[in-house]
Symmetry: none
Subunit: 200 residues, 4 copies
DNA sequence: GCTTAAGCGAGACGGTACGTCCGGTCTTAGA
DNA sequence: TCTAAGACCGGACGTACCGTCTCGCTTAAGC
């Protein structure tokens, strides 16, 4: 949470912070979110429990920090090409996302965070602003570019358009109602682009 | 779980079963899923804990039974008109669903079940087959009817089409990324119907 | 408890009664008194729990019946010779008792009953009248015979005399303060007979 | 259990320890040993259950500590005069013990501990070394003094001699086979001293 | 360079809930 | 009517974590 060089006289232990985040990530992969415990994280990180409680308000917050740290380190990069061919660009982007969501290292903590967000409005706020929004923005930008190029109806609400694209994807993944395949996202993109092209 | 007259010598207590389901529903509304406990349910239902453990494997299973019992009793009915105007019919259906998802009596247990499903693959299976699938079927049927009437491209994958409609809706509700309004679902339907109308 | 051939139209099941007593004896040998349960006895005897509760007021009562049945069957016979040599006769008797108390088949249920008696005054009454008293009587009789023969002071209280003999023995066994050996009982008899011979 | 200043980083709460011992003693007096529960002790002492489980292996161990604490505090002091008159000294000592064993405050926990010891060899070891042995030692010492004075046969086994004195006493009390009266102990002492005086 | 206050590891503490076991009662079906 | 079976309510078991609270120890800041 706190990143700046703390003004206090004695500073926060960087080593402990890192050990905690790593422990949280590895443990959530091993036992899942429900059975992830603060005590477990503290033990794995060889840290006193208080050191966790001092800096994070909940295990969801620890996990969010852990996950974004990894993401900031560039491990889960998500961007979108702009070749002028909207459908192709979106397919490429979503296919990359398919790979990510099928990767256990990504999936376990991300699902944990999604669950925490679904359970608790406060956790949701953090989750949205630090993970969902940035992810969405890439798509909003690409769609705006397409709209300016006339590939999309001028009046289309781009926020809803992105929901149209990512909502089915995320829902299928979260509820495990079907496989996340390239074929699925291709069909998805095809339908959505069709829908956006025509009429207000 | 067991509905039949049970072959065993001693039969299950119908009164306890009902008391447990009612207690579960009322408690989840009061304290939320995380703080819903088996002990709490047992106490509220004036039942021994063992009577719950004997018949259900988890609190998610209790809640699912409680919720579906209420649904089967007709409290949360969801069907779809077929006036010939696909967009209008879909809007009407989703608007009704908006009302449901904004109703705390529906929302609390349903969110709890969704969270349980997202956390646990086994819970997900039950959740899908007993709640999601039946809900989807109504839409698949209506879309098939539209496809036969030629309102939708012949080759369209109707399962994905329904995902396109309900995925964004559910995701927005679950993650609280935006308000569930009539306006939102109207826009949604508009875009989706557009997408389905044109070309495979 | 009830031994007579019940008058009712449908009579008590002799087979169940026996199965219960046997189950109680074997189980107390295997798991001890604390972990002996009515449910366990019922299961081992293939009997409904109610069949036990109907006929016995407590697990101690079951065990007492089980043990006395075995004793009545002559498995644990205790008598005392009367050769005229008091000390020798007593030694012989106590040596036989040493062997019994060192036999696990005897020891386990007897200790269980002693514990129940020590815990509970009601159980104690039964234990005393059905096991302790009969055992004591053999010694009282022998001592009376000795008293008539002039080997024991005329005024000696024979009840206390028997306590003097069996109290140390039982206490040592019950509390495991020392080994039950022939040597021990010989010393015991020696001291006691000395004490009884002299003075009022 | 631990009395020393404990080397560990966090130290044990003296207040909780005391509250637990007091709760155990008062509860065993009110409800008896069988119905004495760890939960009950914890509740009465306003302590978490874990705090009991952390420091004691069983309720018997708690009770033993509670009882010995009270004894160490001098509430149940037992010593023996040495006036030179062995019989008189022993009578005085046993009469004091009669009073103790007839005092409910002493009786309830002591009986509980005796029962636990009779049931379980491990509990017995503790009970013997912390209560029985110290109690016996007083008598062994007095008898040795008498032996040196020539009041007791030189070869007499003093351990058995003490058993002869206390065994009948304890047995009568434990099994409730008779009243614990001054008269009884006087008779007892008389017989035993007689037995010890004459011949090996 | 010494003081001092914070952060730290450790882990005890009062609690809550877990899932299991058993007590003693009650109900059902079959003999 | 008794029995085998076993569901039922109740309550204790011993365990796992919660979030809070000391303990001494280490360590860097600012005097």
């Amino acid at each position: 949470m706190t990143q700046k060089t703390a003004s206090g006289s004695t500073r926060r232990s960087e080593g402990s912070r890192r050990a905690i985040l790593e422990a949280a990530l590895s443990l959530v992969g091993e036992v899942g979110y429900e059975r992830l415990t603060i005590e477990g994280i503290a033990a794995r990180a060889k840290v006193g429990k208080q050191t966790i409680y001092r800096w994070w308000p909940s295990k969801a917050a620890v996990l969010l920090d852990a996950f974004t740290a990894k993401a900031d380190a560039g491990e889960f990069e998500s961007s979108l090409p702009d070749t002028g061919d909207l459908a192709a660009d979106l397919k490429r982007g979503l296919q990359a996302t398919v790979d990510e969501f099928n990767d256990p290292h990504f999936q376990a903590p991300y699902r944990a965070l999604a669950v925490a967000a679904a359970s608790d409005a406060v956790a949701a706020e953090q989750f949205i602003s630090r993970l969902l929004e940035p992810g969405n923005k890439v798509y909003v930008d690409r769609l705006r570019s397409a709209q300016e190029a006339g590939d999309i109806a001028a009046g289309a609400d781009l926020r809803v358009a992105v929901d149209l694209l990512l909502g089915p994807f995320t829902h299928r993944w979260l509820m495990r109602t079907g496989e996340l395949s390239y074929e699925f996202v291709d069909t998805l993109v095809h339908m959505v682009v069709n829908g956006l092209r025509h009429g207000a």
